[in-house]
């Protein structure tokens, strides 16, 4: 007999039907939540869309190549998540465990549907089955390891890492999903009594099955159905919760990697005509950011890398890139998902970013690009800051020496306000070259 197991084995048809119903409801709840975020982003400014029809396929590919490459290297390859010690391992384990378990469950469903078309199309048996069971059995442990590491991290909670109460629920559900998955498998092994490879390919489930040795087949089947439901409900709860918790980054992280401008701190020029047409320069109302910038706010996990790299934060200035992104995200939460009011007018004082973000915060930035450079999902706080600075300056919000410098630049083309004729004075310089200085010892 080739090793296999029956999909939905021991699950009565009524439970199966209910299972699909709950699946549909949870996906619906998740989709609605995600759509509500999308509708908030869409109130941002449009980015000139690639002229799909007019463009040759080659051009289109060239345009999307950087984003697709980032998805591959930085998303799937986790390039930017790495290098932060144990927390990188935690994310890596959870990530690979989650992906493989998700892929496994999807394959199982594909096999199930294929079998409905024709019995011959079933592929969930034999060598494939052995490999499948073994891989998922091991990756379940990896998933649990990642969860455990994150529990540890949340308990110690470094200052730069953001925290919400829902984070405990999320981690708790991960832990329970992982454990109940193994229990379901162990109970299945208890009543099914597979032998040989069919048993050994699930080492964790097999070992756990010894705990249930005392159960009769009937008891094992009852418990199997109960724990299977618990497992399924938790998974569906997780799917539904994605857009309402920190888990949202599962979707927004890759999306931002795909859509973010390739260069850190890249600024699109604004023409005078555009500024006149819009009646403003830079960002005053939250909706003056591009939709991609608004989306990037939802990609922030509050991991704190930007804050640790920021020279302003390090010198106790009133700026933390993470805080800034989170404050803007707070404003985004307040946007009606339906888009109340005319988004282009931006007159609603409620979404005036400058009422929320102090000018001092914006002026503390040295534009060093460290924040965007370290962000695993390429949120670009510098570009947010520069867009806000543009508006501050246009509204006459810059004072002090920096304002004087701008006036000098205007008048004489250099920040010192010296005459252009003096530009070659360095050739007549009389101060001794630096090399005359004595070396230190």
């Amino acid at each position: 007999m080739t090793p296999t197991r029956e999909t939905f084995g021991n699950i009565p048809p009524s439970s199966q039907a209910l299972f699909y119903l709950v699946a549909a409801v949870s996906l619906g709840v998740g989709a609605i939540g995600f759509w509500r975020r999308v509708r908030r982003w869409r109130q941002g400014q449009p980015i000139p869309p690639p002229a799909l029809a007019a463009e040759a396929l080659g051009n289109l590919l060239a345009r999307w190549r950087p984003g697709l490459r980032r998805l591959w290297v930085e998303g799937l390859g986790q390039q930017r998540v790495r290098g932060r010690g144990l927390s990188s391992w935690a994310h890596g384990s959870l990530f690979i465990g989650f992906l493989v378990l998700l892929l496994g469950t999807t394959l199982l469903e594909v096999d199930h549907l294929a079998g409905m078309v024709s019995e011959k199309l079933h592929f969930h048996h034999g060598a494939y089955y052995v490999g499948y069971e073994f891989t998922l059995d091991v990756l379940g442990l990896v998933f649990l390891l990642g969860t455990a590491l994150f529990f540890g991290r949340r308990l110690r909670r470094p200052a730069s890492v953001g925290h919400r109460t829902t984070d405990w629920y999320v981690l708790g559900s991960f832990l329970t999903i992982g454990v109940t998955g193994y229990v379901v498998e162990a109970l299945r092994i208890t009543w099914q009594r597979p032998v040989g490879l069919g048993a050994w390919c699930s080492p964790v489930g097999w070992a756990l099955a010894s705990v249930f040795r005392g159960l009769s087949e009937l008891q094992a089947r009852h418990w199997h159905l109960a724990v299977w439901w618990l497992h399924a409900l938790l998974v569906f709860g997780f799917l539904a919760a994605i857009p309402y918790t920190r888990l949202l980054h599962i979707l927004t992280g890759p999306l931002n990697l795909l859509c973010a401008p390739p260069a850190v701190g890249f600024l699109a020029p604004v023409t005078t005509a555009e500024a006149e047409a819009a009646g403003r320069l830079g960002v005053r109302d939250l909706r003056h950011f591009t939709w991609q910038q608004l989306m990037s706010l939802d990609a922030c996990m509050e991991c704190g890398r930007c804050e640790e790299a920021c020279p302003a934060t390090a010198t106790a200035k009133p700026l933390s890139p993470k805080r800034l992104v989170q404050d803007l995200r707070g404003l985004l939460d307040g946007l009606a998902p339906g888009g109340a009011g005319d988004p282009s007018s931006g007159n609603e004082e409620r979404f005036n970013v400058h009422a929320r973000i102090a000018a001092e915060t914006l002026w503390s930035c040295t534009a060093c690009s460290a924040c965007g450079f370290v962000c695993p999902v390429r949120v670009d706080p510098l570009r947010l800051i520069l867009d806000l600075r543009r508006n501050l300056v246009a509204e006459g919000g810059l004072r002090g020496t920096a304002a004087v410098v701008l006036r000098r630049l205007q008048a004489s083309g250099n920040p010192w306000g010296l005459p252009p004729e003096a530009r070659t004075d360095w050739m007549r310089g009389r101060n001794p070259p630096a090399s005359v200085g004595q070396p230190t010892s």
């Binding site: 040295t366 020496t401 205007q410 010192w416 252009p420 004075d425 101060n431 090399s435 070396p439």
Partner: protein, 266 residues
């Protein structure tokens, strides 16, 4: 008027219309007394290596980096348009600059406005000259360069433009023969460098002594035990000099071009 030292003199684009490289001096290099010494050092090296170059002289304007990063977009575009017109007038194709902010403006800010050039940071051009043997280094290392040295990567050069190998190669060649040899790296180096505190217009803003970014960075540099802190940006030069001075030590802060001049005993 003839300059005191012919090696430290540069022809203008009118004087040398068939130049290969336009040397973009930059505002700091033109007006700031300390950065002027870097300009003289670099011009000395370019002349010594036989690079065919010219300067715009009094037709140069600020690239607009400071204006743009302070948020004055229209002023930036005004300055950029003026510079792009001047560069077009003299058919400039290759630019070398010793200011990473100028390099970044030319490489990243100007192309969308129609200004496209081949732009080199001076350390990149110096590496070429060293590799091609156009800058021949004497065997003996001067006493002044015999101590350990660290290099502070400018954000806009290392992180934004990804140039961090060239400055190190210049330094390694300049320090060849010394007991300490290679550059002593700070914990935060290359793309992960930490800001000197001058970017984004902060050079022009008041800063409380306990909030100075340069003090922190200077401490990091001094912790390597370096006798010389090498920099490659006029803003970093100002900030690191201040930061080191605040620590009350006599460690020298020099641009890479100055270190090379010292090695060549020019």
């Amino acid at each position: 008027m003839s300059p005191p030292d012919s090696l430290a003199a540069a022809p203008t684009v009118q004087e040398n219309p068939h130049f290969e490289f336009l040397y973009w001096v930059g505002c700091a290099g033109a007006y700031d007394p300390r950065a002027q010494r870097v300009t003289r050092a670099l011009v000395t090296l370019l002349n010594y290596a036989g690079v065919n170059f010219a300067i715009l002289g009094n037709e140069e304007r600020c690239t607009g980096d400071t204006a743009r990063r302070l948020g004055e977009e229209l002023l930036f575009q005004e300055l950029a348009a003026a510079n792009i017109a001047t560069l077009a007038k003299y058919q400039v194709r290759k630019i070398v600059a010793h200011c990473p902010h100028c390099v970044n403006a030319f490489r990243s800010d100007y192309p969308p406005l129609g200004g496209r050039y081949e732009v080199l940071h001076h350390t990149e051009l110096l590496v070429q000259c060293l590799r091609e043997g156009r800058l021949r280094l004497p065997n003996a290392l001067p006493v002044s360069l015999r101590g350990p040295l660290t290099y502070h990567d400018p954000c806009y050069l290392a992180r934004v433009q990804g140039v961090h190998a060239a400055p190190r190669e210049v330094l390694e060649r300049a320090l060849e023969g010394g007991a300490d040899g290679a550059v002593r790296e700070m914990p935060r180096c290359r793309e992960k460098t930490s800001c000197c505190g001058a970017g984004g217009g902060r050079l022009w803003m008041e800063e409380a002594p306990q909030q100075r970014v340069c003090t922190q960075r200077a401490k990091e540099a001094l912790a390597t035990g370096a006798h010389t802190v090498a920099v490659a940006c006029p803003f970093c030069l100002t900030m690191m000099t201040d930061g080191v001075a605040a620590q009350g030590v006599a460690t020298r802060v020099l641009d890479i071009a100055e270190i090379l001049v010292e090695r060549l005993r020019l």
